[in-house]
C-alpha cells in the first residue's frame, strides 16, 4: 500500500502549483483553472485523511462530495461573470478589469 505521506506530498504540490498559477496568470479563465487545481488538492486531502485515519466513518468523503458540487456551482457563476466582462471590455485580461461599472 502507499504511505499516506505520499498522498499528502502530492496534494501539497498540486495546491501550490495552483497558488502559483493564480498569482502569475493574467487571463481570468487561467486563474479559474488554477482555483480548480487548488480545490482539487483540498478534496483529495479530505478523502485521504478519511481513508487512512478514520476508515469506519465517511465524513471526509462527504466533504469531498459537497466540495465538488460547490466548486461546480462556483465555476458556473465565475464563467458567467467572465463572459459578461468580456462583453463589456472585449478581453478577459485581469489588468484591464479595474472598473466596477463598465
Amino acid at each position: 500500500m502507499i504511505p499516506m505521506v505520499s498522498y499528502l506530498a502530492l496534494s501539497t504540490l498540486l495546491f501550490f502549483v495552483g497558488i502559483y498559477g493564480f498569482i502569475a496568470r493574467k487571463n481570468m479563465l487561467a486563474m479559474l483553472i488554477s482555483i480548480e487545481l487548488i480545490l482539487n488538492a483540498v478534496e483529495l486531502n479530505f478523502s485521504v485523511f478519511n481513508r487512512y485515519l478514520y476508515p469506519e466513518q465517511m465524513e471526509g468523503m462527504f466533504f469531498s462530495l459537497f466540495g465538488i458540487a460547490v466548486s461546480a456551482a462556483e465555476t458556473a457563476v465565475a464563467i458567467a461573470i467572465i463572459i459578461n466582462v468580456y462583453r463589456n471590455a472585449q478581453n478577459i485580461d485581469i489588468r484591464h478589469v479595474d472598473k466596477l461599472k463598465g
Binding site: 483553472i33 469531498s64 465555476t75 457563476v77
Partner: protein, 181 residues
C-alpha cells in the same frame, strides 16, 4: 499486488503533477484546459485507488464532464482571434514562484515533522469499498452524521447559481438594442 498498486499510484502522481504544472504555464488557454482534464481524471484514479468508487464517479461526471465543458465553452466564447498568447509579466511570475515556494516550504516542514503520526497502511476496514446503500442512507437521513440538510441546501445553492448565471450573462437592454440594429 503491492508493487502494482505502488506503480499505479506513482504513474498517476507523475501525470497529475506534470499536467498541473503545464496547465499553469501553458501559453494557450485551451491547452491549459486540456491539462486540467488530465489532472481531474488522474484524481479520479486516485479516488479509485483509495476505494472511493462513488467519489471517483462523481469526480468524472461533475468535473471532467460538466465543469470542463463549461471551461471549453467559455474559452471559445471569449477568444475570437484564435487564442492569442498572453505576454509574460516577469514581476508577477517571480511573485508567484516566491509565494508558491514559501508556502510549499512551510507546508512540507509541517507535514514531514509529523511524519511518524501518519499510518503507512490504512487499517483493514480502510481497504474495503464503502457500501453504496450506506452512502445513500447517509445522504438522505436526518440523524447524526447524516446529510439531508446540506444536500437540500446544495440544491438551493445550485438554483441560485442558475438564476444568477442567467441574470449575469444575459444581455442588457442597450446591448439587445445594438444587436437588433
Amino acid at each position: 499486488m503491492e508493487l502494482g498498486t505502488s506503480i499505479v499510484f506513482y504513474v498517476l502522481a507523475a501525470v497529475i503533477v506534470a499536467s498541473a504544472i503545464f496547465a499553469v504555464t501553458a501559453k494557450r488557454i485551451m491547452r491549459a484546459a486540456t491539462c486540467l482534464l488530465f489532472v481531474l481524471v488522474g484524481t479520479a484514479g486516485l479516488y479509485l485507488l483509495l476505494n472511493y468508487h462513488f467519489l471517483a464517479a462523481v469526480q468524472l461526471s461533475v468535473y471532467a464532464g460538466g465543469v470542463l465543458i463549461l471551461f471549453i465553452f467559455a474559452i471559445l466564447l471569449t477568444n475570437p482571434k484564435g487564442d492569442p498568447a498572453e505576454p509574460a509579466d516577469r514581476q508577477k511570475v517571480v511573485m508567484g514562484i516566491v509565494a508558491a515556494l514559501c508556502g510549499l516550504a512551510v507546508t512540507a516542514v509541517i507535514v514531514l515533522k509529523h511524519f511518524a503520526l501518519y499510518p503507512i497502511h490504512p487499517s483493514a476496514v480502510g481497504e474495503q469499498e464503502i457500501n453504496m446503500q450506506a452512502i445513500g442512507a447517509a445522504l438522505m437521513g436526518t440523524g447524526k452524521q447524516q446529510y439531508l440538510l446540506p444536500f437540500e441546501l446544495l440544491s438551493v445553492l445550485l438554483l441560485a447559481c442558475i438564476i444568477g448565471g442567467i441574470l449575469i450573462a444575459r444581455k442588457g437592454k442597450g446591448q439587445v438594442g445594438e444587436a437588433e440594429e
